[in-house]
Subunit: 481 residues, 2 copies
């Protein structure tokens, strides 16, 4: 067990903060609620960014960049939107030494400024669809912050699209939800559940909000990405109109979708264990670390020579490999250190391995001797490491899926709901025909929120666990970050 | 000549704004001084970003991310720094609906907040050097703005490093200057001049500022990237100290270096002509555009089939290719359109080309028939396009170098200086032993500024053109953006 990391069972929140600190992912800054993303955490974000950006481009989107500052009056044009965001705004009132006539809001999200630009760019149906994404920082004045999960400033992408019809906009909304789910499952190895948000939980200004919900190792939920169908709400507020084939003026239907540095927190909490991080190979900044082992100078030379050779082979094959040749640390220390940092595969090379021209592979997802493969010939190390990385990737997804299923409970009445929530936690799946007021009451009484109405409902029809009404709708409740 | 673009000779400033608008690189936003970077402009920035990021990583740097907001008190700790930036600050005074106790500055640059973090991270000489870069947006309240060249908010990278000794920090400063020059010359095809800034022009808080200066097509200078040796100035202000091998406390020596979306403006103005953009192939979002030509449906099918085949071949080879299959535009319109957008190579495919299984290649940097190659067999199109892209890249650099030399004037007295500046413009190279006051006077009288003291001085010793004093220093003066 890693010395400076609180066991998960003892205090999951402390475990999380310990891992963030020890693995040097992020650090608090002197600006209240803002964190510094340190290089190892930022590399993880670069992996996330790369995996998403590739998918956005493959689905026809282009990146662009819109202003950080938004005139206060813009936010006020969409009534629900301003109501939702007003309490969270950071406001610039002084520029160039002078009081500003109109205060500028530091963007909490960019529907309004982008809506304004789209109203200029869209004239005819021929200009549609507009499919644009922005990588940016946004600011929301949060009272209680936690690194990656909730910070005053965070990094994200926000897609904003405009379409001729409701159908096309809804297709886009669901396409991007699928893109998020595909990324989460394949790259982050997190078996997210796709669903729609309740009216109470939806985005301020949306007609419908879709989400991918992930389960963390403590059974809590984490909303990991959202895709919103905005209907004509922003088109009406910002006059995004077009002339259709019959020369009639119509409002566009718009969407927006976002995924943020929260995903880094999701990766930490979905896969981590008491030793620290366990990173999925697709996203891991370092996929394989080489730890050389020697006792004397003669061994040292031979071992380092072979280690460098193996490093070069893996680098040449595109594996993100690091050779830990530190002189002032023991192999045992290095094992623990890289385990804590979640590196998926460790390659051990000692004098005996040099003699056999072979290496030892150890996988992060299986502790101890069971996770080791001995005598891997150095000539076959690239194939062996690649295969092992694939196995670790699949195994993390499998473990997270098994854990999610084991921690998902189906209940049929509110008493059981409360009991299961208190005693076992996790996701509670119920038939649901309640109102927003019912949701609020459940949250007050249990601290669980309605995470989503999952799109995939194998249950069929049943009775609402709260009201007893017949319904084909299912809801997932959980305590959530 | 492109219809909507003012000729350069008539009005270079209007030419620039016309090109930015017609090529859809950027657009003014409703926020004073802030622009929207449109997809084509952002793709150009992505190319710049990619070329730099690769070089930063190859020289041992990691990316990280620091807060957007900086406490006002931080800026005030380095006297020259706050003096330089105070007039340009945007200040957040309200957060979450409440007046803030201490106003937060929207970062104009991040030496202060990063210096604060480094003081936490550096304890011993073993922690050094720290080599970190940040990709971020920054805000400087500018009175007169121009897209890409000077905007209130801009995107950039800022490298910040801490070292044990002055020598190492100076090495880093010059290494990153070389990285910028290498990028500018190889990727952007701009033959920049490396030099050191005068005291009057150096960064607020630096000991020495180095620059790459580019010449635009109108002979004006554009500072395109800067690398600063900060000495112990920020280390003393933020207490960045370490224990050396002898257990003695020392101040770090720090550097910072930045390159921004200005570089997009540099590419536009260094290479553009009266037809519009001319993009260097390394950075061009579209390297080759295929324009199919047909008269009737039978021709259309055959031409489009071959065009798609050529597109697939080029795509497969990693060429950024676009097939312009628009039905409602003539080939002639498309030629002009893509010329205006600066695409380096055009591939024309008509019925005769289909019959010959060959294509026509046209290069953007040479107008008319002279720039065309006829009868390129489709089987060899990948090699031919690649070779042509290399040629265009080299040719743009060559043309810009020839233009720079032709527009660089060596003068020996102030009268000639003023006359040459007025009649010919361009860079004026002079021996220089003047003071900051002399510089200010020259600027007042001629609107030319001292761009840099170039590192490479083939001239040897001479007499200052202003004071007549003997000196081995050379300065470049020019009107500048």
């Amino acid at each position: 067990m890693a010395g400076n990391i609180t066991p998960q069972q003892e205090d999951f929140s402390r475990w999380y903060l310990d891992v963030i600190r020890e693995a040097e992912l992020a650090e608090n800054s002197p600006v209240r609620g803002s964190m510094v993303i340190r290089p190892y955490g930022y590399e993880l974000w670069e992996g996330i960014r790369g995996g998403l950006d590739r998918r956005f481009k493959a689905t026809g989107h282009k990146n662009a960049y819109f202003p950080l500052f938004i005139p206060m009056s813009f936010l006020q044009r969409e009534a629900e939107h301003v109501e939702g965001f007003a309490p969270e705004l950071a406001v610039v009132t002084i520029g160039g030494g002078k009081e500003l006539e109109e205060p500028l809001v530091v963007r909490p999200t960019s529907e309004t400024i982008i809506g304004h630009m789209y109203s200029r760019w869209v004239q005819s149906y021929r200009d549609l669809p507009i499919l644009i994404n922005q990588w940016a920082n946004v600011v929301r004045w949060e009272m209680r912050t936690r690194p990656f999960l909730r910070t005053m400033e965070f990094l994200w992408q926000e897609g904003h699209t405009a379409h001729a019809t409701a159908e096309e906009a809804m297709e886009e909304t669901l396409r991007m939800l699928d893109v998020y789910a595909d990324f989460a499952i394949r790259d982050a190895a997190i078996p997210v559940i796709k669903g729609v948000k309740s009216d109470r939980e939806k985005f301020a200004g949306a007609v419908a909000s879709y989400t991918i919900e992930a389960m963390m190792a403590n059974g809590w939920a984490l909303q990991s990405g959202t895709s919103h169908y905005l209907g004509e709400n922003f088109a009406r507020a910002f006059d995004i109109t077009y002339l259709d084939e019959n020369n009639e003026m119509r409002y566009c239907h718009t969407t927006s979708w976002g995924l943020s540095t929260r995903m880094v927190g999701a990766v930490v909490m979905a896969h981590g264990d008491d030793q620290g991080l366990r990173l999925p190979p697709v996203l891991a900044p370092i996929q394989a670390v080489i730890v050389p082992i020697w006792r004397d100078d003669a061994q040292r030379a031979a071992v380092l020579e072979m280690a460098a050779r193996v490093e070069a082979m893996l680098q040449g094959a595109g594996v993100r490999v690091h050779l830990d040749a530190r002189e002032d640390q023991t192999p045992g220390f290095k094992y623990n250190d890289w385990e804590m940092r979640g590196v998926p595969v460790r390659i051990e090379i000692g004098p005996r391995d040099v003699a056999n021209d072979a290496v030892v592979l150890a996988r992060r997802d299986r502790p101890g001797r069971e996770g080791k493969t001995f005598g891997v010939p150095s000539a076959g190390v690239v194939e062996a490491v690649r295969a092992l990385l694939d196995e670790v990737q699949a195994s993390l997804l499998e473990q997270a899926t098994v854990a999610r299923e084991a921690n998902t409970h189906r209940v049929e009445d509110y008493d059981t709901f409360r009991q299961v929530l208190d005693e076992q936690g996790g996701f509670i799946r119920v038939h649901w025909a309640g109102t927003s007021e019912d949701e609020a009451r459940i949250q007050d009484e249990t601290r669980a929120t309605l995470r989503c109405l999952p799109l995939d409902v194998p249950e069929g029809e049943g009775r609402c666990f709260l009201t007893g009404a017949k319904t084909d709708k299912v809801a997932i409740f959980a305590r959530a970050y």
